[in-house]
């Protein structure tokens, strides 16, 4: 592999928040799975937008509105390139991953799911990729089927094949598990589904910041992600959908921007992507997402992947020597996080003491209660990494856990 000329200190220097202290100690931020921190360029892009360009898009003839529209639509082009979609209009801006899944569950569900049909998900889904389908199944009289996982936290492909049947209407899979770190073989799973003409949606919330995503290569029918986990602002995300599927789907919400013409007798809906973007969107968030993509491009996925893999390996090697520590999720292919429990110490207690030491980790069920039930734990402690984390921070985490163990 070519040498990667990225200096981690210069990366860290781009994130203002990393210089602050928490409880009198330098912040060690290891909760990137929940949300990543934002580089100066993203923060500046958002404030610059409000300072110089703010106006509503797609409607005004005045300069500001045209500039804002151009800037916002440029981001759509940038996203298209970023995930290698075929067309700009296959990129739908949403409020985030959850918003994207709900859109598909609602619109695709209303158009294509009938009584007795089946939706397939895995046992490691985030609640966001469970509940919208349960709601849909309840509305349509359809059934939710769950692909089981192994004790390592991997999908059983044979079981998956068996669960696909003539009634399967849609499969929705998590790309990278937020509580286990498992990278699922989605390309293979999509191919298996497509052999039976079943569309597949991918929840990419935990993947997009760790690995390049090429929706055409994956042949994903839908791919959703959030800006805020990839160094961008909260409240904005992307739903990628194949043109023909999006065209077949009913609009999600009614309102401004999603129409061509409205009379009290009949409304003609707008074309893609606007058909799915009712109301004034999170324009500043969209601009920030564009800056986040630029940030990732400036670092490059080669470095990001190599650095995060190194951090994960180092974390595992340091943590596995701790007596009484048990990893939850030991899949062969994993990304960007370690999840574990300590014998006899509740994750909440661990989290509270680590916080006092300035170390931010996530504790609890990570919105994946079925996963916690499967592993029979009340929750886990999760340390999740981003491009700006260092080995020294992992050493601090290990020291913190030693301290926790001494206290309980």
């Amino acid at each position: 592999m070519s040498e990667l000329l990225v200096d981690i200190e210069s990366v860290r220097a781009q994130f203002p928040i990393l210089t602050r202290e928490v409880n009198g100690r330098p912040l060690v931020y290891l909760d990137n799975g929940a949300t990543s921190q934002k580089p100066r360029s993203v923060i500046d892009a958002v404030s610059r937008y409000y300072e110089l360009e703010n106006s509503n898009i797609h409607r005004g003839v005045h300069t500001l509105s045209q500039d804002a529209t151009a800037a916002y639509e440029d981001v759509r082009k940038k996203v298209r390139k970023f995930i290698n979609a075929k067309y700009d209009h296959e990129v739908i801006f949403t409020s985030g991953t959850t918003g994207g899944i709900n859109l598909v569950a609602s619109s695709f569900g209303a158009s294509l799911v009938r009584r007795g049909d089946e939706i397939l998900i895995t046992a490691m889904e985030h609640h966001s990729n469970i509940v919208p389908w349960q709601m849909l199944c309840e509305r349509r009289g359809a059934h939710l089927k769950v692909i089981p996982i192994s004790k390592e936290g991997e999908i059983d492909i044979e079981q998956y094949k068996k669960l696909i049947g003539p009634k399967t209407e849609l499969i929705s899979l998590v790309h990278v598990s937020n509580s286990l770190g498992t990278i699922n073989p989605i390309k293979e799973m999509i191919e298996i589904a497509h052999a039976q003409n079943i569309p597949v949606m991918i929840d990419g919330a935990q993947a997009i910041h760790h690995t390049p995503v090429d929706v055409q290569d994956l042949d994903a029918d839908f791919y959703v992600f959030s800006a805020h986990k990839m160094y961008g602002p909260t409240g904005v995300g992307v739903l990628y959908g194949k043109e023909e599927l999006l065209n077949d789907m009913a609009p999600y919400q009614g309102g401004g921007d999603m129409i061509k013409s409205v009379t009290f007798e009949k409304t003609i809906y707008n074309e893609l992507p606007h058909k799915f973007e009712a109301g004034t969107p999170n324009i500043a968030g969209g601009i920030g997402l564009g800056a986040a993509i630029d940030f990732i491009d400036s670092i490059g996925y080669d470095f990001i992947m190599q650095h995060e893999a190194e951090l994960s390996r180092f974390a595992v090697s340091q943590l596995r020597d701790i007596k009484g520590l048990r990893f939850i999720g030991t899949a062969k292919e994993r990304a960007g996080l370690v999840s574990f429990v300590l014998d006899g110490i509740h994750p909440y207690d661990t989290g509270v003491i680590l916080d006092k030491l300035g170390i931010a980790v996530r504790t609890g069920h990570h919105c994946t209660q079925p996963v916690m039930n499967f592993f029979e734990v009340p929750g886990t402690v999760r340390a999740s990494f981003a491009v700006y984390n260092t080995k020294q921070e992992i050493v601090k985490l290990v020291e913190g856990i030693d301290r926790v163990k001494r206290m309980f």
Binding site: N23, P347, Y348, T363, P378
Partner: protein, 146 residues
């Protein structure tokens, strides 16, 4: 000294905590309090008595004895349990009215406010609310009888 009144008990806890100058000592004390809290009868750890927090779980039981409310509680997390110990010390064995009107300012004063913030979702905020609801229910029961 016979401690009477919620405020007096709160004051006592504030004094007890004023001895600690750093967070480690304070948390070690809370962990100790968590460990010494008498365990709730396993038979009472039912879903009916469970207050679900996102982070930790709390079981709370209440009964009325001689006009006073007796609380027992448990949690699966020790720090949560330590704070429960304090809440019970203050509110248990008091009359319903006193519990309903208690302001519970001591938590803030001993620097543990963060544990009773809704964002912690450890079940403690719901527990205090539930303790007051029990008191209100007992009061209503008493009024109906008299």
């Amino acid at each position: 000294m016979v401690v009477t009144g919620i405020e007096e008990k709160e004051q006592e806890i504030i004094e007890e905590f004023s001895l600690f100058d750093d967070w480690m000592d304070k948390y070690e004390h809370i962990i100790g309090l968590g460990k010494e809290l008498p365990l709730i009868d396993e038979a009472l750890k039912t879903d009916d008595l469970l207050i679900k927090g996102c982070q930790s779980r709390v079981w709370l039981h209440a009964k009325l004895e001689d006009g006073k409310v007796i609380f027992t509680a448990d949690s699966d997390a020790i720090i949560t349990k330590g704070i429960i110990n304090l809440l019970i010390r203050v509110l248990s064995n008091e009359e319903p009215d006193a519990i309903i009107n208690a302001e519970m300012t001591f938590i803030d004063q001993i620097g543990l406010k963060e544990h009773l913030s809704p964002t912690r979702s450890n079940g403690l905020v719901s527990m205090v609310k539930q303790m007051k609801l029990y008191a209100l229910a007992f009061k209503t029961q008493q009024n109906n009888r008299s």
